[in-house]
Amino acid sequence: MIEVRDLTKDYGPHRAIHALNFTVKKGDVVGFLGPNGAGKSTTMKIITGFMAPTSGTARIAGFDVFESPLEVKKRIGYLPETPPVYTDMYVRDYLRYVARLKGMEKNRIEKSIDRAVEKTSLGDVQKRLIGHLSKGFRQRVGIAQAIVSDPDVLVLDEPTVGLDPKQMHEIRELIRELRGQHTIILSTHILPEVQATCERAIIINKGRIVAEDSIANLATLEKGRSRLFVRLRREVGDLGAVLSDIDGVMGVESGSSNREWRVNLRGNEDTVDAVSSRLVSQGYGLLEFSPSKVDLEDVFLKLTYGQSRGGEA
């Protein structure tokens, strides 16, 4: 459905994206993940035909974005970072305008407005001025605007930015509901959003794709690694020395005091068993002993900032 080949964009001397290559199949929900300024919005703008790339191509449903922009734009629903709403229009009139602008047939317009309003739960406010709506509702009007023309491809640029947690949850639910009917690309710098809504993630940093895989595979990118959180009753000067001879212990970091430690392991349950029995046999007073998997966030941070989560619990 979406095919991006060697896409490059320069802003003057600054190269925003370097030769991006990726494909999105029909019906997929793909998260486009990266820190601020990684080139997410730039990529989205090019895919939607809003902006021309410096080199490379992007094809939507077989149409090149630059050779047949009108065909591409008919098939795309786009929610930019700021929802493109007219504050002096009524919600329903606005959606009707967008549907007509997208070139929908007259007899389908009212039906598709009803559908978009229902999906985004805008029923109660559809006769109000957009200018009088809260930020969360405006964002929903923005999403309604993107889906009103029933496009094949939905491009959502940071759909939950600036919303409160409840609204965020609602928007994510909505995106989950839309799964299957549209091919969706979702850009965000918020990790749980991708975990909650997407099947596949493309992680981008400084204009390059650093990882592209299913969420499940990304989370277990560093297979067999795990981490133990240990809280002791007695202070220990150097836990690393105590555990160093156990096979599979990679390293030890101290927490907020000498009573709390994080132990990085490679190996199986035997290693965990060995660590716990060592701590008990030494008589440190084991209060807490919790294993945690290296999660997606670590992978994300490692890939984008070149560091793993160390400082915070």
Partner: protein, 258 residues
């Protein structure tokens, strides 16, 4: 074409459904209703005194010259300031509110966007002209009015307003600020009346002809007297097309400029 009509329809509804436009119309009628009776009385006095001043130019005794053309010149003066107010937001505001993104990612061409907005501005101007036409219409109930030259002179002013609208739309496309667009537009509207002034001071015959042709006065003069000259129509229409084209280029450029 479809896009043009959709955008024109939306903007027209924006004008005619907004209180601002009616406040503007109200203020225009306020000024005209003050001026028109004064002009009417002056015209009346002139006719009375004609008996005592036989040497007076006959032309001034015609109601078309003595009354309606004065009304039209006041209307023109007001349009210089009102047309920018109508057009200033058309593109600048879209850029500022980021709704321009919607237009640029919709299946419409840049020329559809500009033409749609231009047609809407013409529609609003037509509304203002309609209000102004009420004055001669009422006058017709107690005086003999020659309709053909009257309508042609209104069309002349409408064409000039069309030139303002095209220039002002171009100004609106240049900036994100409606205020900057307004000031730029007023300057442009005023300055096209000054270009012709050079014709008075240049020595070369050729240069004088060029400046005379560029002068809006030359072309409007014929129309307001009720004579349609194709050179005038071509000049006004080519100004409109030039500025529509420039505005289209600016809109199109936002697709490739970073």
């Amino acid at each position: 074409m479809r896009g043009t009509l959709v955008i024109a329809g939306k903007e027209l509804r924006g004008f005619f459904a907004s209180p601002t436009f009616y406040v503007m119309l109200f203020l225009i009628t306020l000024i005209m209703s003050y001026i028109y009776p004064i002009q009417l009385t002056l015209f009346n006095q002139m006719l009375m005194s004609y008996v005592m001043q036989p040497g007076m130019p006959q032309q001034q005794l015609n109601i078309h010259y003595g009354l309606f053309l004065r009304l039209l010149s006041y209307l023109n003066l007001m349009l210089i300031f009102i047309v920018p107010a109508l057009t200033m937001k058309l593109i600048a505001e879209e850029k500022k509110m980021r709704t321009f993104d919607l237009l640029l990612t919709s299946p419409v061409k840049s020329v559809d966007i500009v033409l749609g907005k231009y047609l809407a501005a013409l529609g609003a101007i037509l509304g203002i002209m309609g209000v102004a036409f009420l004055y001669p219409l009422v006058t017709a109930s107690f005086a003999t009015v020659n309709w053909a030259p009257l309508v042609i002179s209104f069309i002349g002013i409408f064409l000039v307003a069309g030139v303002y609208a095209a220039m002002d739309l171009f100004c609106s496309s240049l900036t994100e600020s409606a205020l900057v667009a307004y000031v730029m537009s007023v300057m442009m509207n005023v300055s096209i009346w000054f270009i012709g002034l050079s014709a008075e001071v240049v020595d070369s015959q050729k240069a004088r002809q060029v400046f005379e042709h560029l002068s809006l006065n030359t072309h409007l003069a014929g129309l307001v007297e009720g004579t349609v000259r194709t050179s005038g129509l071509v000049f006004l229409l080519s100004l409109v097309i030039l500025f529509i084209f420039l505005a289209e280029r600016v809109v199109e450029s936002s697709r490739w400029r970073a």
